[in-house]
Symmetry: C2
Subunit: 137 residues, 2 copies
DNA sequence: TTTAAATACTACTTTAAGGTAGAAATTAAA
DNA sequence: TTTAATTTCTACCTTAAAGTAGTATTTAAA
């Protein structure tokens, strides 16, 4: 019951950038130090975030990253979706690909309520709404 | 947001054995075919389940496996705990080791409610209570 | 007493995620 | 125009989980 490291990093990175939108641009070196994410791994994820259109990058000296769209339009669910994390948890705690209510897996009934609650929570939590202050770990 | 394969297999195996307690013993070959779990991997997990005292094994010809204690005393939470799955999800969706409410991680407030619900669900769901019929996948 | 059916043990291989290294490309400042 | 600060690309290494193979051990039936 853990998100992948990549997803967790992505959430933390985007949250941090959202919280510091006043500073126009964030660069990889600083992000890496502040968020305690290995530099090379972070830049790999940043490229992903750019390709997935969460982030705009400005290359070259004085370049850096900023949000591609407003923090209020990016939900945690969007992020998880982009990193293929949704396909898992939204479907089945036991990993079934297709949820057939006629042929319930053994935890179907029990899992239904928590599943709905989690999904709602992820959908409603936009970057704008994130309050916590500890972006590390 | 997935359980490890090992945990999922363990849940399915124990559920199936609980549901068929009338048949005195289950053997690895049949379990492997019925549950569609690779034979060699299944026997590895069975040994774990024996060591962790969920299962009693009878060796030799006509041997097999049965529950070591009553289905009503084994919760999904127990199983996850035994396979070190709890340490993760019970603590933090973002993977923090220690949850310090003075120093909330960015999803603390949102995660609190779903987390409680999931944990309750796992704790309340004993093998006896599992209703679903599809033990595969 | 031999044999067949079962679990248990030891060791290896495969796969995917996580992470690292080095160099290329871009761009503004000096 | 050179240089330094930046992102981007390509390729590789590491680790843990998942899965496989072979053999030893146990035990009841034949
Ligand atoms: S039956 Fe329930 S738990 Fe199983 S796959 Fe479908 S939704 Fe998931
Ligand atoms: S602050 Fe909340 S989400 Fe973060 S580690 Fe603690 S319990 Fe988990």
């Amino acid at each position: 019951m853990q998100l992948s490291n990549t997803s967790k990093y992505a959430i933390r990175i985007l949250s941090y950038i959202a919280k510091n939108e006043d500073k126009k641009l964030q660069n990889a070196k600083e992000l890496s130090e502040i968020l305690e994410i290995p530099y090379k791994f972070l830049t790999k994820i940043m490229t992903d975030l750019v390709n997935k259109e969460f982030i705009l990058s400005i290359r070259g000296r004085e370049g850096g990253y900023k949000l591609a769209r407003s923090a209020s339009t990016i939900s945690v669910l969007d992020i998880l979706n982009a990193f293929n994390e949704l396909t898992h948890f939204s479907e089945c705690i036991l990993g079934s690909q297709t949820c057939d209510p006629q042929k319930k897996c053994i935890l179907h009934d029990q899992w239904a309520k928590p599943r709905t609650l989690i999904k709602q929570m992820f959908a409603e939590t936009t970057l704008e709404k994130i309050e916590g202050e500890d972006f590390k770990t």
